[in-house]
């Protein structure tokens, strides 16, 4: 690129400047941003963010200026360098797990140590015996061995029971033989496997004496510890580029009769007795059940923050950007601030409401999960102390709560990640043409987050689990032997009032608004139950009904959780009444907008009348948009994203949108180092200028 001429350097955007526009936008609201941030995240977490951010920004390897330009190979190299440095910093600063995770969040890209630091270590900790932990976990924790978790196969995604990789117990020399019997058995999508890991936990079908015992975890070394070359009988590599996530080396792995010792089968829950050659059954499968619930609850909590990045960028840009004059305005009026357009508000502000709704719901889920873990641990302790002395009722109630949490986490994972994914794309489009530029910062974030809708349970598949649980609860309520929890309580209420009708005052009463959502869930559940149990319809013929039911139920939970936060004492203690008032409006916007979009289920269940729904849209929602609009910018500020994290021209906190777009294009873009020959008949295609100031040309 030729150097930028002085006359270009002198140019500024046409006034009003973005900095002024965004400041006057902030002046429209009195929300105390700092207090709201503290309420959302706690002061401790925000201080941690500042501390870790300062460390990262001082490191050259974390400089983000070439992120949007690099191709796959360079992306990966840089990501690996960053992962290494991150590990060094973790050691140097004695970072806690929270600090390490915070650093990763700020860097905001998946890294090649990702699956080592999460699934490999977690699996060894959770499923290894003390002997195995000494052998495998210790070197892994010290990064002397780098591992991954190899479950999914080329021919099998979600269905673990369908895995084809086999581990055959060889009684003669007390080893397992890991083998991929077909091409479809190739491990696939395995994070950190492609180029990085030298170990893998391989999920394989255990075979003893010709009999299958289902999938089990085996530790397998796959690459030489010195040369990093694949070991004999192992074919391993990266699976190629993806829509996003290209800083990660998702890999494939084929095993050709690879022998591993007995100690490599992770044996905390089940094992093979090397003396008798017999299978030892798992002791407590429900703990694994718990891990999945934990992972999904995390996804729910994150979904609010994931979406909030897009909403922050789009809202800030809509405050700076002006386009067209108002049709009703006088001819000489300037162009309108984009955030003033009703259509833009209608697209962005319900998403803004959703960020808070999902955040509060995720926090509540994590709380419930932790309470239940404590309770189960103390139950388990009591049980072992008294030798089966715990009453059946207590055990029952503990596992009931876990079943409820499990189903809840499935449905909310699907709703939360779908809302975030679709919402991010809506934010990108709300930025108009510039939303398509990489410098918007939304596209790559969206592309990296996208698989969340598919992994840890495909969002459509998961809805079946929710429906199964709701049907089971409804049957129990009808039989009269249901546990007492929120789900069975709303079903009972529905059955009691069903004949009288509902008459929820959704426009006047918050609790009625929540109750209308509960009513819809209950109605859809008993409808589905009738289809399945009375009309004996096939499971497959009800999948669309189940998907609707799960979505309805999850929306009820989000609305209810938001409502509960508004009733909480901590809210009143930490926030002033103006901020609480705006949060209340966000609650109503989320609920009424969701209700209106699912209108036909609400009226056909008689939860509300057709007239009420019409009023909800034409009056309430539109009025709420107007009322929330002046607070929008401060509300996104409260999410507290550093500019460094967002890495977005459009989402800059200071409003210098156009300066930043131009700087990145004109000063950072390596394509401008090419001078080409434009004529079709000339053979010489391009010449690359390797220096910053390019002069050469061919």
């Amino acid at each position: 690129m030729s150097p930028t001429p002085q006359w270009v350097k002198n140019l500024k955007p046409t006034p009003p400047q973005g900095t002024d526009l965004i400041q006057s936008e902030r002046d429209k609201s009195k929300i105390n941003v700092e207090k709201l941030s503290n309420f959302l995240f706690t002061k401790e977490v925000l201080e941690r963010q500042d501390r870790v951010l300062a460390i990262l920004q001082a490191e050259k390897v974390f400089d983000k200026s070439q992120n949007y330009f690099d191709g796959r190979v360079d992306k990966f190299k840089t990501a690996l360098a960053r992962a290494k440095r991150m590990r060094q910093l973790q050691v140097k600063h004695k970072w806690t797990q929270e600090e390490y995770l915070m650093a990763n969040e700020l860097v905001s890209e998946p890294g090649p140590y990702g699956l080592h630091a999460s699934m490999y270590l977690t699996t060894l900790r959770g499923q290894g015996t003390p002997e195995q932990q000494k052998l495998f976990l210790e070197p892994a924790e010290n990064y002397k061995a780098i591992g991954c978790y190899a479950q999914t196969e080329l021919g099998h995604g979600s269905n673990v029971r369908g895995l084809e990789t086999i581990a055959t117990w060889n009684p003669e020399d007390k080893t397992f033989i890991l083998h991929s019997p077909a091409l479809t058995a190739s491990k696939w999508w395995i994070g950190s496997l492609g180029r990085t890991a030298n170990h893998a936990v391989v999920m394989a079908q255990l075979i003893i004496g010709g009999k299958p015992y289902g999938p089990h975890p085996f530790v397998c070394q796959i690459r030489d510890m010195k040369t990093h070359e694949p070991l004999e009988g192992i074919h391993v590599g990266d699976i190629g580029p993806k829509f996003g996530y290209n800083t990660m080396d998702n890999g494939f792995l084929l095993l050709n009769k690879v022998k591993i010792p007995h100690v490599n089968m992770l044996a905390r829950f089940s094992s093979v007795d090397p003396e008798t050659n017999k299978y030892v059954k798992p002791s407590s499968p429900s703990l694994i059940y718990g891990t999945l619930t934990w992972v999904r609850s995390t996804i729910v909590l994150q979904s609010g923050g994931v979406l909030a990045r897009g909403v922050t960028i789009a809202t800030r840009y809509a405050s700076v950007r002006r386009q067209f004059s108002d049709r009703d305005a006088p001819a000489d009026a300037g162009e309108n601030q984009v955030l003033d357009y009703q259509m833009v508000q209608y697209r962005l502000l319900p998403l803004l409401a959703a960020t808070f709704a999902l955040h509060f719901t995720g926090k509540a889920m994590m709380g419930l999960y932790q309470d239940n873990q404590k309770r189960m641990n103390s139950d388990a302790g009591q049980a072992s102390n008294t030798s089966r002395g715990a009453g059946p009722e207590e055990t029952h109630s503990g596992s009931d709560l876990l079943a409820d949490l499990h189903a809840t986490s499935c449905g909310l994972k699907a709703l939360g990640s779908t809302t975030a994914v679709d919402g991010l794309e809506m934010c990108r489009r709300a930025c108009g043409g510039h939303g398509y530029s990489s410098f918007s910062g939304i596209g790559s974030w969206y592309a990296d987050y996208l698989p969340t809708a598919t992994w840890e349970g495909d969002n459509y598949m998961l809805t079946q689990q929710v429906a199964r649980y709701l049907l089971k609860s409804a049957r129990a309520v009808l039989k009269g032997d249901a546990p007492n929890n929120d789900t069975t309580r709303i079903f009972t209420t529905f059955l009691q009032k069903q004949d009288m009708g509902a008459a929820h005052d959704i426009l006047g009463s918050d609790s009625d608004l929540v109750a209308a959502f509960a009513w819809r869930t209950s109605f859809l559940t008993f409808e589905a139950l009738k289809h399945r149990d009375v009309e004996k319809n096939s499971w497959n013929s009800l999948l669309v009904d189940f998907w609707r039911l799960s979505t309805a139920h999850s929306q009820y939970l989000v609305v209810k959780n938001f409502y509960d936060v508004l009733q909480s004492e901590s809210l009143r203690y930490e926030l002033d009444s103006e901020t609480i008032g705006v949060l209340h409006k966000l609650f109503r916007l989320y609920a009424l907008d969701t209700l209106e979009k699912g209108a036909s289920e609400f009226y056909s269940s008689s939860a509300v009348t057709v007239r009420q729904i019409q009023l909800a849209r034409t009056k309430s929602v539109m009025k709420l948009l107007e009322e929330i609009r002046p607070h929008a910018l401060r509300l996104v500020d409260a999410w507290h994203f550093p500019d460094w994290q967002l890495d977005s021209s459009l989402g800059r906190k200071d409003g210098k949108v156009y300066e930043d777009m131009f700087y990145r294009a004109s000063e950072l873009n390596p394509l401008n180092g090419l001078t080409i020959d434009p004529y079709p008949d000339n053979d010489v295609l391009v010449k690359r200028d390797e220096t910053a100031n390019f002069k050469s040309k061919l």
Copy 2:
């Protein structure tokens, strides 16, 4: 990458093989694929496709095997080499415009000559005088000059009147001075400008004697014809990477008082008289109006085909992929073909129906446009022959039709491209985890197509134009002075029957189904009219209503066009009754599914009853899914995409999904040429193996 060992080469997927599955899927239907293809595209077009495909496939530069791996710079270099070769082939084979466009469609990536070959040449042809065409068009047509069309600016997208670049007439030396007065005046997003073009048509505000005359087109040379360096006073470059479209060099351009001669203002419609220094007014602005209509009609037609690529890939993969057993099936049953799942059918088959619906609608639009152009040309001819002799009625009806077409094209452009964009992403997700791999072929196609939702009129902005037209028509109907066209006819019917109610038999009668859509449009139009004219609501407060109205109206048009095709004689002549029967089911699926998803508007307008909508979903739609499912594969086959065009592992016509995924990852993936050092404390990061068989390591 180490060479693939023999034991890996021996591996096959677990049976049943994809080839067998996809063949047995094809055997389920008797649709005559060839006849249906001919009906969709004509035999002539399909033969053209074969002919051009054979030429392209024989050229090394069009080899696609590295497309998914290349970074931005390499992508662009390759795309430029391809553009050059394409031009050479065009000359060599004396390709017609249709053949050249077909070649571009098959290559399926935007190329650096794109805006030269379209907008630059078109603008010179349409807006240049004969003298200007000799001067600028001739060298451009021979690729001696390469141009682009520079309208959009950094601070101004859709709003042409807000452009900041100025062209000041200098009476002293009879020149224009092109100037960018601010950073936001920088031209931005200009295709082919970044690295390729040496000329641009610059849209700039014309200033004569200090007075502004609005935006006009000026030809400006921007780079040296030999060195390709930017000329004095010009700062030009590529705007950087985007979410997609990275084979194209969208550029920026700043002009510092650049002087161009008088002849460089394109003067066919308006000009500056160099003697009097006076502005000469445009003669026929409606021709430009017509061009936009043409562009949008093309987008409507293409939207069916764009979506069909995703549907083809997802449907083929869903025929090969098996996942989980049916819950109601016996325990030893194998895994289910994914296409058998109701939820998958519910996601894919309405999109399959939409591909046909949009294709037929686009074709009808193009037909109407061409009829109208002929008519206007003959009117114009008559008018000039008889010197204002054409009756006012005829002129009125010609321009009325154009106004109708304009509004129709706006609404359908928005609906068609939104359907295609959202549908492609739904197809990608329906492919599960593998949909995220670049080898699915959907992601990059989606990313490249995405801007269509924003350009040629943002899909949300456009809906205002539709609403404005419908309100105007409704006012005319109420006044009694409306032209006789389809829009005014459905309004008249609505007003006549409004009091009696509608009672459309959507489940029994096709024409009633179409009428229900017409009814909804009419209802929403008169509602909006009341809000605007009676209640005097602001335009801005009605934008959401207008967006709903436009969508409703466009859906009516699509349903109606599909219906009309089913009534046509050519259909009965070209297709057998089984195929017609399946097309009829697709029509009903598209209409009923659309109706059900917009349920609340249909019942609140009294177009149908609540009970009918419930039946539409639970009975009709679900039954149609079952009935269409066996024909799905042949229906996508009829779209006739060569494998070379799709470039998709999942969408292979022969069903060899897993072999192809594995081959691309294991044999083509350059990341596997890197061996890394996995340990965090080692400085040396990676070593790249430049040979195919990598041995080195650090």
